[in-house]
């Protein structure tokens, strides 16, 4: 019984962590290139509503996920044009993007409130999903959950091991140097911003098609902001983003279970726990032997105007 319920808790945690993981991974790449996009919440909502609308209209979850990704990408493109081509202030533009995303998604989704959707199918691998404990934990999810793990590996590998990743980091650390040795700073940043948008859109699609398969306004309920915080928490490292998303999701879910089990701690204190845990880990990272290695990209948030 205890093992069984642990499995159930873990399953719920995976659901809570996955949207955060997508959005935070995307934002990590964006920030590594030196761009700060505070519009994650807006891009997630755009992704959520587009995914839902397309999945309901076409009946295909796959098309829905693709549409969500595309919608995130499209809103990120608007951000790119404003901040990269027109060199607008990134903080203000990002905030505006969130507000825009909230409004646009509410408008586009008005006709979809109260409409049922078929949730994304769980991958059912014959023989494996029924294995006790390991089966449901490892093989009982929809494809998007696996994609989030694959994406973590891919982003980590790309940033660390590939030429493209090194160029991207160089652009984020010193745009002027990167530019002077001939790299296309704006082009690299555009690609990073679009990737970030696609990932946020994917996270939104997971929300509206799998986590809570429905469309209601502002259903992200602040997850975009948590994703932003996770990037800092993870000190711009993909594996720590994964750990952070699961830690935050885990503490959030565990406190719900603890309440249900009647643990005698005030509910308000429980609700603080995910944030407390996050702050605590941040403090340990900042004060520990890794001191000074928070690794914020040096050019983060700074507009780049090629001088020639």
């Amino acid at each position: 019984m205890a093992v069984e319920s642990t499995v159930l808790v873990l399953l719920t945690i995976i659901g809570a962590a996955t949207p955060l993981l997508f959005a935070a991974l995307g934002e990590l790449v964006v920030e590594k290139s030196g761009v700060l996009n505070l519009g994650v919440e807006g891009m997630m909502l755009a992704g959520a509503v587009a995914a839902f609308a397309v999945a309901v209209t076409t009946g295909s979850g796959t098309l829905g996920v693709l549409a969500g990704t595309a919608a995130g990408l499209a809103t990120a493109f608007v951000f790119g044009v404003l901040t990269l081509t027109l060199a607008a202030n990134q903080v203000a533009t990002g905030l505006a993007l969130t507000i825009f995303g909230i409004g646009l998604s509410a408008l586009a989704g008005a006709g979809f409130v109260g409409v049922p959707v078929t949730p994304l199918p769980k991958l059912d691998i014959p023989g494996l999903s029924v294995v006790p404990i390991v089966g449901p934990l490892l093989f009982g999810h929809d494809a998007v959950v696996y994609l989030s793990i694959v994406a973590t590996v891919a982003v980590a590998w790309f940033l660390k091991k590939t030429r493209g990743g090194m160029i991207l980091r160089a652009v984020g650390e010193s745009d002027i140097s990167a530019h002077s040795i001939g790299y296309d700073v704006i082009g690299v940043r555009y690609r990073a911003v679009l990737f970030g948008g696609a990932m946020s859109g994917l996270g939104g699609a997971f929300l509206s098609l799998s986590y809570t398969p429905m469309w209601v306004e502002e259903m992200t309920a602040g997850r975009g902001w948590i994703a932003l915080a996770l990037v800092v928490f993870a000190s711009w490292r993909p594996w720590r983003v994964l750990a952070g998303a699961y830690l935050f999701g885990g503490v959030t879910i565990l406190q719900l279970y603890a309440q249900g089990a009647g643990v005698g701690i005030p509910a308000q204190v429980m609700s603080m726990l995910p944030y407390l845990a996050t702050i605590l880990v941040l403090t340990i990272i900042a004060a520990g032997p890794w001191k000074g290695r928070l690794d914020a990209p040096a050019c983060l948030g700074r507009p780049f105007r090629p001088s020639t």
């Binding site: 319920s5 809570a16 309920a221 509910a267």
Partner: protein, 360 residues
């Protein structure tokens, strides 16, 4: 005509428009149509609490046509932000303003002081002023009906309750539900999970998952999104809709839903303002007045249970059944309401203790 404004538009637009509105003065627009403002805590598309108020607003538009112009501001955070939004509406010539969340109470009262000619209606609060009325619905009456059904339908005897904040309104609902359910199943346990939010579909759904994993086979909610009920549907247990008929999200799981119907009240109070007959009052309407309604029973409610639920409802309407009739014990087992006695409205509205059987 409707003006749809979000809180954030308000924040951004304040600097630009504040001057213009103040100069124009409150009566400038009122010559053609009476302006009625609504302040919402959530989005109109939440399919729950705010949605219900917005239906009431639409009823006002429908009833009065061109004679009335309504404005609503959605997603207004409880606190200082609310005061700014309410003041803006008052300064913008609205003669009647409905503020539809408990946390808008103090902001409403503060603005009301500054605009003595504007009439304010605050939902679910308890403080009135010469130009501030309070109105509320006896949702707990609906929860008694739900409790009756739950007592019959539950097999495990464990009910999961997704709650927002431990304010009297919510506490009262949990207690009314539990007392009604205990009449059928004396050993029933109501496990409460607080999500500390009125609206966070993900967290509400996760709360429901946690409770179902811990044995609950009935899910109740005092939060605003359909997520808990949808989770109940996905896990094959039952639940109750909140504020709207949520059958679309849970065709099998929804046993019934507690519906808010603000239409009649909003139309009446708007008429009072037009007639110059508006006076400050405090009303608390329920099943009897039709401010609280029950949705059609789901297929999972058998005939004998329907009759029991109807009996609870009819008893409350007729005044023969009071949801809080003693003996009522608190969690510590102390008798709080003596045998045969009923709780006064005043005591209900400051309820801060749970009845025995609640695990919160």
């Amino acid at each position: 005509m409707t003006a749809r404004v979000t809180r954030r538009d308000f924040v951004l637009g304040t600097a630009a428009t504040a001057g213009a509105l103040t100069v124009a003065g409150p009566r400038a627009f009122a010559a053609e149509a009476t302006k009625v403002g609504f302040v919402y805590v959530g989005p109109v598309g939440d399919f729950g609490w705010t949605h219900g108020h917005d239906l009431g607003r639409e009823a006002v538009e429908h009833h009065f046509g061109d004679k009335v112009k309504t404005t609503f501001v959605e997603n207004v955070a409880e606190g200082p932000d609310a005061e700014r939004v309410i003041r803006q509406l008052a300064a913008g010539g609205h003669e009647l303003i409905f503020t539809t969340s408990f946390g808008f109470m103090n902001p409403t009262l503060r603005v009301a002081k500054q605009f003595p000619k504007v009439k304010f209606e605050h939902a679910t609060g308890y403080r009135t002023a010469p130009n501030v009325s309070v109105y509320n619905a006896r949702f707990h009456e609906g929860r008694s009906v739900c409790g009756t059904i739950a007592g019959h339908v539950t097999k495990s005897g464990i009910v999961g309750y997704i709650a927002s904040f431990p304010i009297p309104e919510v506490v009262m609902g949990i207690n009314a539900f539990t007392l009604a359910a205990q009449k059928i199943r004396p050993d029933i346990k109501v496990k409460v999970v607080w999500v500390n939010s009125w609206y966070d579909p993900g967290k509400e759904g996760d709360g429901a998952k946690a409770l179902i994993d811990q044995g609950a086979d009935i899910i109740c909610q005092h939060t605003d999104s359909p997520a808990p009920l949808q989770t109940a549907e996905a896990r094959g247990v039952h639940g109750f809709g909140q504020a709207s008929d949520m059958k679309a999200y849970a065709p099998k799981a929804q046993l019934t839903a507690i519906l808010d119907d603000w239409s009649d009240y909003y139309v009446k109070r708007t008429q009072d303002v037009i007639d110059g007959a508006w006076t400050s009052q405090s009303i608390w309407w329920g099943l009897k007045e039709g401010m609280v309604k029950m949705a059609a029973y789901g297929d999972a409610v058998p005939d004998n249970v329907r009759q029991a639920a109807d009996a609870t409802r009819d008893g409350i309407v007729a005044g023969t059944l009071h949801p809080f009739t003693g003996p009522i014990k608190n969690q510590a087992g102390e008798v709080k309401v003596a045998e045969g006695a009923t709780m006064s409205d005043e005591d209900l509205l400051k309820m801060d203790w749970y009845v025995a059987g609640v695990e919160a």
